[in-house]
């Protein structure tokens, strides 16, 4: 907790330094960056809207990281499940509630099945899940783009977008005047469910032990190969739902012609949250907040929003640096040892 706060603080200080170097009105710019996201209902809405997909991917990646699997496939799954949900939203004829539910579940199931492939490769042959999942991102993007171009594309529209979704398929808005949609409820339910799964069920226990020390898990009689496949299924399901919900909640046509980036952002959220489900909420909101702040800053001042990439880089660098703040950890260890003696 202490370490994460320190990291965020350092990253913000770096951001301020850069702003003061780049901007002609640094103080004004910093104020925009810091306070614009909470300056109006619409902006607060923007933050929450952006936090929803980040929570989904952050949650999926937390599960994978918790099992010590460095799988970054949420990116491609977000995209492809979005395509799946979009095609159901366009072509199926279903009732008001049923339609989005079917589309989201289908997206989730497709996500789970796709995610299982790197999982099985890892469990059976110890193929690096990082490599296979990254390659899968390209495959899924390619196939998804093909489907968009040749099956779903609306020829009458001027851009590469799909036909319009049926109105029944689009998620309801929760707060008038914003685009905050029912996906928020779904993701919060998922977070609570994952928390209980991880800390209160025997499958969650197996997952955690496998992640901490696979040898120990094997020795205790846990079938770690099964655990690895199970984690991939669950994480894929969550990521797939996330992609579907994002598409049905925010748009009325499918219009991603590039990978949306949520998969990788999810890795950052999971790192900030130290792979704890409830902390994912905080991590996602933090990231959404500085993103919206940067957007506003780009619009209203002379600093481009790409500055945010620097903050992210600093955060990732510091969190993944083992040595950082090790000094404090050592002191804690010494204190423990002293107690023992």
């Amino acid at each position: 907790m202490f370490r994460t706060s320190a990291v965020i603080l350092i990253a913000l200080i770096v951001a301020f330094l850069i702003i003061s170097l780049v901007s002609s009105q640094p103080w004004h710019t910093i104020q925009i960056f810091m306070f614009e996201p909470v300056s109006s209902k619409a902006h607060i809405g923007n933050v929450i809207e952006m936090a929803i997909p980040l929570m989904f991917s952050g949650l999926a990646l937390s599960l994978l990281f918790k099992a010590n699997l460095f799988n970054l496939g949420a990116e491609g799954i977000f995209y492809f499940s979005g395509v799946v949900a979009a095609s159901i939203a366009i072509h199926a004829q279903l009732g008001n509630w049923l339609h989005p539910a079917v589309a989201v579940l289908a997206g989730g199931l497709v996500g789970a099945l796709l995610s299982a492939i790197p999982g099985i490769l890892k469990a059976k042959w110890n193929a690096s899940e990082l490599v296979t999942s990254l390659m899968f991102n390209s495959i899924l993007f390619g196939v998804g783009l093909y489907l968009l171009n040749y099956k779903l594309r609306d020829a009458k529209a001027f851009a590469t977008v799909s036909y319009k979704f049926q109105p029944t398929a689009i998620l309801d808005k929760l707060v008038p005047g914003t685009r905050i949609h029912t996906g928020l409820i779904v993701v919060l339910v998922c977070i609570v469910a994952v928390h209980f799964f991880l800390y209160k069920t025997k499958w969650g226990y197996e997952l955690r032990m496998t992640g901490i020390n696979r040898n120990f898990a094997e020795y205790s009689g846990i079938k770690t190969a099964k655990v690895i496949i199970l984690v991939h299924l669950i994480a894929g399901f969550i990521a797939g739902m996330g992609g579907s919900i994002e598409v049905l909640g925010m748009y009325n046509r499918f219009q991603w012609t590039a990978l949306p980036g949520y998969g990788f952002d999810g890795a950052l959220v999971a790192m900030l949250a130290k792979n704890k489900p409830f902390a994912v909420i905080g991590g996602a909101f933090f990231l959404a907040y500085i993103r919206i702040g940067a957007d506003q800053m780009a619009r209203m001042s002379d600093v481009p929003s790409e500055m945010i990439a620097i903050i992210q880089a600093v955060i990732i660098l510091l969190i993944s640096a083992e040595q950082f703040l090790k000094f404090f950890k050592n002191r804690m260890l010494l204190r423990e040892a002293a107690k023992d003696a």
Binding site: F196, K200, T201, K202, Y205, R208, M209, I212, N213, N215, F216, A217, E218, Y219, S220, G221, I222, K223, L333, E336, A337, K339, D340
Partner: protein, 517 residues
């Protein structure tokens, strides 16, 4: 009187994790000798050598090279003073040629590039000078183990080493290669080099060394001229006991055989025989000790018993059932518990809580689950009870186990394994690296389990432990059971040492008594 080339005085080394590897060790090297350092695994040989080569720094004491007190902070410091080391696991770049490996870090330059021909010439010149024939252009990955070792020796020599440390050089060699190595070492000695030879093969030591330093549990047990001591004396000094622990055990008749090992053999990946026709049985209420110098098949035997290594022939029966097709989960279900040798690798999940570590072998059963969720209250009670029964010093069940001291961590492992009422307990080095208090506690626990009728296999390199706890004792050497001793407390350490070091062996019939038929 020969000149003392290198001296290590009152060296003490404590590792950051609290392991005391060397205590007041004194070591002296004379110019132009081959000096053996012998001792069991964990006696502190390697640590001493690492300090001599600058890989570790002593916590106390001083190192004197050619009359000058030095501080060796890195291997480079040692190399600068003419000390070279050949590691047991070679440190070569496989995809480079011999010549490239030789000059790594000190490449002769031609413009910006490496002067490869010069490197090859240097290699050839040196290999001729010392009669260590190597092909400078051969790639290291294509070389045999013996050849690689030559490259390592030459690598040290090209850096100007006058003192060569060889860490168990013969462990990986065939007998022919060993002979060749000895010829080369004698050649080096004739050239005025000084050699430190680490080994626990006494025959070799007698054959080629001038003097011997014997180490045991981090201390030097003495320095001898090779001619003045016999192998028996060396073995006694190597494996003797420090403190004699005594435990009360009441005698009662053994029960049914729980574990039966029948004629088990197994090979490793290279096809080398690591277990050969091992046969014994363990009855309810009996502790069978398996003694031996590490690396003589004990680890593989445990792997066979716990289902992680298939036996190539023979059978293992637990309560009369063949376990060949079973994995560790099913074996555990048959009532087997297992305290593994390495608690960091297998025995514990370091970053998990004490509570999580205590339930890893039982969380699955209905008893600990309620409507799909783990029964938190019941688990909490179990964990609290175990922590107080086993006197685990900790801040509470939620504390990370990695924060505990070695002894307390091991108590958690023992608590987990002993509290499931096992029929058979396999304890592999159960007190390695733990303090005396925890060790005694664990020993008491094993005896308690025995009284309750548990069959126990105790694998240990600690003579004290094995002689005091075992009801019957097997000694393994080279993958074979070489001795069966039915009254371990009456056997002498000397005798045991002879079996452990392969100097003596019982007849087939004597050994076969171990199956209690």
């Amino acid at each position: 009187m020969q000149h003392e080339l290198l001296e290590m005085r009152n060296i003490t080394k404590v590792y950051p994790n609290g392991v005391l590897a060397n205590r007041n060790v004194n070591f002296a090297l004379r110019e132009g000798e081959i000096h053996a350092v012998v001792g069991e695994n964990g006696a502190g040989k390697s640590t001493l050598m690492k300090m001599m080569f600058g890989m570790e720094e002593p916590s106390e004491g001083e190192i004197i090279v050619r009359g000058e007190t030095v501080k060796l902070h890195s291997p480079q410091d040692a190399i600068d003073r003419g000390i070279g080391m050949v590691h047991q696991h070679f440190m070569l770049v496989p995809s480079f040629t011999v010549a490239e490996n030789m000059v790594l870090g000190m490449e002769p330059k031609k413009g910006l590039g490496i002067h490869y021909d010069e490197a090859a010439r240097m290699t050839l010149e040196l290999s001729r000078k010392y009669n260590l024939t190597v092909d400078p252009h051969a790639k290291v990955e294509h070389l045999s183990v013996g050849m690689k070792q030559k490259v390592e020796i030459l690598k040290a020599l090209i850096r100007g080493a006058k003192i060569l440390i060889l860490d168990e050089p013969t462990a990986v060699l065939t007998p022919q290669e060993t002979e060749e190595l000895f010829r080369e070492l004698k050649g080096l000695r004739a050239e005025g080099h000084t050699i430190v030879f680490i080994s626990h093969k006494l025959k070799e030591v007698k054959e080629i060394c001038d003097r011997i330093t014997i180490m045991r549990s981090g201390r030097t047990e003495g320095v001898f001229d090779t001619n003045s001591v016999t192998e028996k004396e060396i073995s006694r000094l190597m494996v003797g006991r420090d403190v004699v622990l005594k435990y009360e055990k009441d005698m009662k008749p053994y029960g049914e055989p729980i574990l039966q090992v029948k004629n088990v053999s197994s090979g490793d990946e290279q096809g080398k025989q690591v277990l050969s026709r091992v046969q014994f049985s363990v009855r309810a209420g009996e502790i069978v000790g398996i003694a031996g110098v590490e690396g003589n098949g004990q680890a593989q035997l445990v792997e066979v018993l716990t289902g992680s290594l298939p036996a190539s022939s023979g059978m293992v029966l637990i309560s009369g059932k063949d376990i060949a097709a079973n994995n560790i989960r099913e074996i555990r279900k048959m009532g087997v518990s297992y305290i593994p040798e390495d608690r960091m690798r297998q025995g514990a999940a370091k970053e998990a809580s004490i509570s999580d570590n205590l339930i890893s072998t039982r969380y699955r059963s209905k008893e600990w689950n309620k409507r799909g969720f783990m029964d938190g209250r019941k688990i909490r009670k179990l964990v609290d009870d175990l922590i107080s029964d086993y006197k685990v010093k900790c801040s509470g069940p939620a504390q990370e186990i990695g924060m505990l001291s070695g002894g307390n961590m091991q108590k958690v492992v023992v608590a987990r394994e002993c509290s499931t009422n096992p029929k058979l307990l396999i304890a592999e080095q159960p007190t390695r690296g733990v303090d005396i208090g925890a060790a005694q506690f664990i020993h008491q626990k094993l005896i308690e389990m025995r009284q309750e009728g548990c069959a126990i296999v105790l694998v240990s390199a600690d003579l004290n432990e094995i002689m005091e706890l075992s009801d019957t004792l097997l000694v393994m050497y080279g993958g074979e059971v070489v001795a069966y001793i039915d009254r371990p407390s009456e056997v002498s350490e000397e005798e045991l040492g002879l079996y452990m070091l392969g100097l003596q062996k019982q007849s087939e019939e004597e050994v076969r008594r171990a199956s209690h038929l």
